[in-house]
Symmetry: C2
Subunit: 589 residues, 2 copies
């Protein structure tokens, strides 16, 4: 059941609204003299109205019980923000040029996560378009966009969205977002959109005036969870399933990324399973595979197992991989890093993805995870940085400010030479120095105070999220990538991406492990990657797997601003090589 204002062309528009609470609902059209038209109450809590002679651009509210004016929960556009009227959008007028676009298979993706507002000075969709060619040149083939559902104010990470169908007005118009997707597709990029289906933001959150969108039974760290399993749960599910299909179908989005943990629910058919069923149906209908990816802290292999045994997701984030690298390189021991930090954590992460497979976590104080031996590598997304891992540090500091340059290159290699799906966080590829801070622009002072307190308590961050400086300081200094060490790192990333193992190589992967030396050799049969986390020895003498090898990359070379190395270009069978501390060396057969 489609929801919201569906513009059919020729001045015809259908309104559909799930709102079992009000006794009476009208559509109020804002047109000089206001027009009030009653909706018709249908089955299952839905209200309907068909109008003629309304055109795209028309602003409207729903009027509840003859009194309260509210924007459409499924509004496609909130040009004046979360409290303003909704706007009727004509989704048929955009001229798509991505015919024949087939997407990028999950296993081939190199993902670049970005925040629209902080990615560029202008902070809009168009500015992303201007940088696509440079990302392409780097080897990126998928951009993952942090949530763009309309939120309160003009700056926010996006997880405070309250209109999941409306493109954030400070980022651009719906058609500008389409233009970004269109330009991305033309250049061979998949577009992944981060969506928030577990909770809604605090300001402009009028869901409960309409119906039991929340049932109060489940809470998330960010507010009440949506009601997917209680009375009217199917209609609330429909709201979000329609949202997913809307991004796929109307905006040509290739993949969604959900925070999955709190969406497990109590039902014979969990919401996540139904969402993946409906996504598969649309894929079939459109003859194009739409993907579902998830962030989950559970390490639950069931999430990406095919239905009906599993929930049918295409991939999930692997936080353990990040924590293993980060704790090993930084020696940090605070928070969840207490569960990581030794080379063997990294080895396990590199070998199988999850580190915790129903093992005890001292941080969580409980076991988590499940065996993932049946999880193919193209179902796990790995990273050494992302918006959370950077942005939730007290100072929003990036890895480049914490570890030496040699370690930066090594962490990039660990991600990009792994068999998993790599994800970069905007700017990491050239060691961006700007932090990624937490920023909001709510209007309620009490709420701001609560947000500040929350950041202090949870992340020991004393910065002011509402201070516009927190936002402005988070913006990328894109031009940096063209100079000095930043440029060197950028080139190094480009090299690594170029060396990504293909399917055949991944299948042939074997790991040789020198635990005492903190050194791992990943043998992809025709390519050998040596990653040394050693910091004790000046260099380690090592025999490569049998065969003759040609050196392709050595991070310790002066060329990569390294300390220098004297490795020969060719290594004959049985010869030993010298591996420098904190370095990566790649050989090809």
């Amino acid at each position: 059941m489609k929801i919201g204002a569906q513009y059919r062309g020729g001045g015809r528009c259908s309104f559909s609204l799930f709102a079992p609470f009000p006794e009476l609902i009208d559509v109020k059209i804002l047109c000089g003299e206001d027009k009030i038209i009653p909706m018709e109450k249908g089955q299952g809590g839905y209200w309907k109205l068909r109008l003629n002679n309304v055109y795209p651009g028309t602003k409207y509210f729903y009027r509840l019980n003859g009194a309260v004016l509210r924007p459409d929960p499924a509004s496609n556009c909130q040009p004046e923000g979360v409290d303003g009227p909704s706007e009727i959008i004509d989704h048929n007028k955009f001229r798509w040029q991505d015919g024949g676009w087939e997407g990028v298979p999950a296993g081939k993706m190199v993902i670049y996560e970005l925040h629209v507002g902080a990615f560029s000075d202008k902070g809009d969709f168009d500015s992303i378009v201007h940088r696509l060619d440079e990302l392409k040149d780097l080897g990126i083939n998928a951009i993952e966009i942090m949530p763009i559902g309309q939120f309160s104010g003009d700056r926010n990470w996006g997880y405070d969205g309250v209109y999941p169908f409306a493109v954030q007005n400070s980022y651009g118009r719906p058609d500008e977002f389409k233009r970004l997707v269109n330009e991305a597709h033309k250049r061979g990029f998949a577009v992944i959109l981060d969506v928030v289906y577990d909770h809604a933001g605090p300001e402009g959150n009028y869901f409960s005036d309409f119906g039991p969108y929340f049932d109060g039974r489940n809470k998330t760290p960010h507010g009440n969870a949506f009601n997917f399993d209680g009375a009217f749960g199917n209609e609330v599910r429909n709201f979000f399933i329609q949202n997913a299909l809307y991004w796929f179908d109307v905006f040509h989005i290739d993949a969604l990324r959900l925070d999955a943990d709190v969406l497990y629910g109590i039902s014979a058919k969990p919401f996540l399973e139904e969402l993946s069923e409906k996504t598969a149906q649309l894929s079939k209908k459109k003859n194009k595979k739409f993907l579902l990816t998830a962030e989950s802290k559970l390490n639950d292999a069931r999430l990406t197992r095919p239905r009906p045994e599993g929930l049918g997701f295409d991939a999930q984030w692997c936080n353990d991989f990040h924590h293993a690298i980060h704790a090993l390189l930084t020696k940090e021991k605070n928070g969840y890093y207490i569960d990581f930090g030794s080379y063997r954590h990294f080895k396990k992460a590199f070998k199988r993805g999850f580190v915790y497979l129903w093992e005890y976590s001292n941080f969580r104080r409980h076991r988590y995870g499940s065996s993932c031996s049946d999880t193919p590598p193209e179902r796990l997304v790995v990273f050494s940085q992302n918006h959370d891992q950077v942005g939730n540090r007290p100072d929003g500091g990036r890895l480049s400010g914490i570890v030496p340059f040699e370690a930066l290159k090594l962490s990039a290699a660990a991600v990009l030479l792994s068999p998993y799906i790599p994800l970069l966080f905007m700017g990491e590829e050239y060691a961006e120095e700007s932090p990624f801070l937490y920023f909001v622009s709510h209007s309620d002072p009490k709420l701001l105070e609560a947000v500040r307190r929350g950041r202090i308590e949870e992340y020991s961050s004393f910065l002011l999220p509402e201070d516009i400086k927190s936002f402005l300081r988070s913006k990328l200094k894109w031009e940096k990538r063209r100079e000095g060490k930043n440029k060197i790192l950028l080139n190094f990333y480009r090299e690594l991406i170029g060396l990504r193992p293909n399917e055949e190589e991944k299948a042939a992967k074997t790991i040789e492990d020198f635990q005492r030396l903190n050194l791992l050799v990943c043998n992809y049969r025709k390519m050998v990657c040596v990653m040394s986390f050693n910091i004790k020895e000046k260099s380690i003498r090592l025999k490569l797997p049998p065969g003759n090898w040609k050196k392709i990359l050595d991070s310790s070379e002066k060329k990569w601003a390294g300390p220098g190395n004297d490795l020969a270009g060719f290594v004959a069978d049985g010869d030993r090589i010298n591996v420098k501390p904190l370095s990566v060396v790649v050989y090809k057969a």
Copy 2:
């Protein structure tokens, strides 16, 4: 990790307690002059103490932070109720006589659900023993005992228990419960125990003085749910997993019955899966299959699928089957009966168990259920009455007070001639007239007021749960089974149980369906059961499946206090028979 006071013999006793909250814990032994012995804090929130020279029968408290005295959450005996001291029990002195007992396979069970207090005048375990032979004679081979964990006061359905390891003091001593199990096993009965792992009762509930047994994230209709997935969740799980193993191992219980819905949880390994893993491990160790059964309103086939795809339970209750029969026979339309009432619901229930397979329920206002086509019949427990379905009626009225005698026999046949596991509720076999009312004996007047209000709101019941009459009126009038129509029904039940289809017959089952006539023919190949829910026609002329058939049972005969029928004892191939309204006829080849 075992918990509670483990008596090792020879005056040696080990105490083990999960209690991360207190800074200091002592064991206080009550022995004239009180002895206070400090416990030692170990790993993971556990406290330990080994004592010599303490003997079974010794009473003790835990003293928290040098001040508050509390019984042991894992107390094995609370002789003076929920606030009194715990008692050290020697579990090795009982002389078991059930060596070689192999249990009853789920698929062969005929279950009799009983409430210890209301089953007999004395309301204790011993009184059950005295009636076992009569249940045996009826054909019962499994008794399911409503919860016996120590609760506040001396009468309660059992779902207000607060010491899950302590046998309710008003029912008898731990060894008297063992005697019941022992006597049951000697007679070939399996013993199923109803356990409550999702919440605890309101009085005597001191869990939160010890540790995060509840984490406040999940609520059940009866209070906070136990913390199985948050910090210290593994230790809270252990408390209940140890409880399950304790009943199996120490009390020789054959099967547990859990309320499963709220135990789903958010984890890569749900509590239910871990419980079933640990139960399987004990089964292997003891070379005896211990069973897990569940009540669930979700109609989720995953519950009884083998691990790791499913949760590995052996059977689950099928409420839909009950609702289908009840609504069809009574024409009631209140509450969940609104989703049932037509013959086709019954047909579906009889054919496959679940009626709602992810279909929309008007009562719940959402879809529920999943396909159960891969669920074998021995994984579903069916009934036409049970403690909830009787006891949650405003007057606690049994089916015998609502439908005519002919319908009673038919409903019994629907359950007992089905391929599923039949469950009877104590007394239904002889049309017991006593109601089964809701009764409690809490001490707090405010709590009693809240309970009263709850019963009015949820069940429109204006009876007083705390009035001892509610308890006394619920007691069975056992002697009734020896007279008049009660005795006839009892004999009829015995006949039906004797006709239970075997595995081979179940596998051969086909259903022929006369929807317009409200008549179902279940052909077990060598046995044909005709169940007529027809009330319009005086009788229905019907051709049996091909073959010659011998009449075995006809509920409409005078012998069964029916209106009389003139069916021949033998039916030749192609002959038609007359089936009376609301009747069941059984033929054998």
